[in-house]
Amino acid sequence: MTQETDRGADFVKLVVLLIAALLLFAPFLFQDIRSLEVAARICVFIVLVASYDLLIGYTGIVSFAHTMFFGFGAYGAAIALRQMGPGWDAVLLGTLAGALVSLVMAIAIGLLSLRVKAIFFAMITLAAASVAMVLASQLSQFTGGEDGITYKTPDLFKTATKLVVTEDGKVARLFGVKLNGKLAAYYFVFASSLVLFVFMIRLVGSPIGTILKAIRENEARAEAIGYRVVAYRTFVFCVSAVIASLAGSVYAIWLKYTGPDTALSFSIMIDILLMVVIGGMGTMYGAVIGAVLMVLAQYYLRDLMGTAAEALANVPLLPFILNPDMWLFWLGVIFILLVYFFPKGIAGSLARKETEA
């Protein structure tokens, strides 16, 4: 039994390493714009989902304000780049401003309401997130309202920028990939995400990580053996908020556009929840698996279904149920099946400890 579950945990680790390798070499392995879009989104969402897992999976805090913090970071970078022009000072200032607003909001929400019951806390975060959404659409002179804002990013990330030039002045290629600003932008996203993810891995493996789990398991006993539960909860809420905010800034720099749909909408919150549940709560690696599966499904399930429907055009009924417009229905079906067969999420179920009764 022990060996079997160790193998499960090792398998999960292997899959995660494989995904990391694929993301590292993504620009060379999948040489089209859309794939790179997908890879960058996966990187950012891994961080976003992992930071949410700190709350829901490790500490047992249910929050619906995670996209709000993501949005603060995205809008911070976006507004700074828009107002100050495409410089590194704008990137830095906007990112820090977004993180600071997130931190202040997290402290305020945390201290005011982490003492109350989980359900009330969830409601308060929901209210805060709604307010942020309304503000983003109302303050349109800064945020561009529902349309969002487009802006330029530093020259290094421009597609026209040549990182390496050949002798005749053209952009150099490596394995057929242009060494241009787009590549630099992707590696900026990848490296930032990697740093934040490794930070979180270290955090959950440190003493503080076990305290968070203890609070999730039995908050009264954690308090009784000497851990101030409110302080630890507020702390993890702040860490999670700042990381979400930084992920938002990175995504804003990548997209060169920030609007309610990319940074603030409630559907992102639902995506995060689905990813964390599919991947497995309280595992960190689950965030990687969940984010990869969901983003891939969102981008490619329609294409796959379209191809399948065409291939089966002569078969009765099947082309109809495989119609690409039905993709959300199939996503739902897949989700239900995953939850049924992997009740603890994919990473959680595979790596389940033998020690459970």
Partner: protein, 260 residues
């Protein structure tokens, strides 16, 4: 034979400690002093307020009136975590563990709480070998080595009770509060726990409070007995004196001496 130190300063004092739930007074003006090296057994019928009295001392409840002093420091308004840092340790009547964490991790958490490493964010837990070594000591002391890597939820009831005691010991407190540590334990497990308490007692520096019903246990361990009845302190004194007192026999011991 008994190593009581009546002259030493009390480590724990409750002054007129009172809590009301609506109109019901669960603990009524209980004033008591507890000294290092002394094992006090608290007896009383069900609903007498024994566990509530414990909750007021360890901070799960705040009193309606009265004070709790630890080594002269007023801890009445402190949350349980702060009291733990002042050396108040408590084991619970109903098993109160971290069910989905391994046994060793449960104990390590209790060791770590007062180690000053609680806010350590970057060192992997596995590298804090000193904490682990200390946790392993309590693991051995409570004879839980064989189940160290099982989740607390997977343990037998008896082992869970032992882990409960291990958590208390791992906190390394000055005041040990045991709330019916052998409740629901089989006959082959109960002596283990009682031996542990006896060992603590032999240290002669710890203040031990024990809620216990089993009269043979009370006789074997108690330096002093206090009797709670309807939230009030009914009797307080050496075991022989309290057990022979008429009023105590009437309200409490009358029934259970036959069984014991």
């Amino acid at each position: 034979m008994q190593q009581v130190h009546p002259m030493s300063h009390p480590s724990l004092v409750t002054q007129d400690l009172t809590i009301r739930f609506g109109g019901h007074v669960a603990v009524n003006a209980v004033s008591c002093e507890f000294r290092p090296g002394e094992l006090t057994v608290i007896v009383g019928p069900n609903g007498a307020g024994k566990t509530t009295y414990f909750n007021l001392i360890s901070g799960q409840l705040g009193p309606s009136a009265g004070r709790v002093l630890k080594d002269g420091i007023d801890i009445t308004r402190m949350p349980p975590s702060a009291r733990a840092h002042h050396g108040i340790g408590r084991a619970f009547q109903l098993t109160n563990l971290f069910p989905q964490l391994p046994v060793l991790e449960n104990i390590r958490l209790a060791v770590q709480a007062r180690s000053g490493k609680a806010w350590n964010m970057f060192q992997p837990v596995a590298k804090l070998t000193e904490l682990t070594a200390r946790a392993e000591r309590y693991l051995e002391a409570t004879r839980l080595e064989d189940v160290a890597h099982l989740h607390a939820a997977a343990l037998s009831h008896g082992d869970q009770r032992k882990l409960e005691v291990a958590l208390l010991m791992a906190m390394e407190p000055d005041i040990y509060m045991f709330d019916e540590p052998t409740a629901g334990m089989s006959l082959d497990h109960a002596p283990d726990v009682l031996e542990l308490i006896a060992e603590l007692k032999h240290d002669h520096t710890k203040t031990i409070l024990l809620v216990e019903h089993k009269m043979d246990v009370v006789r074997a361990l108690a330096d002093r007995i206090i009797v709670l009845h309807n939230g009030e302190l009914l009797a307080d004194g050496p075991p022989e004196e309290v057990m022979s007192s008429r009023i105590v026999r009437d309200v409490y011991l009358g029934k259970s001496t036959e069984a014991a």
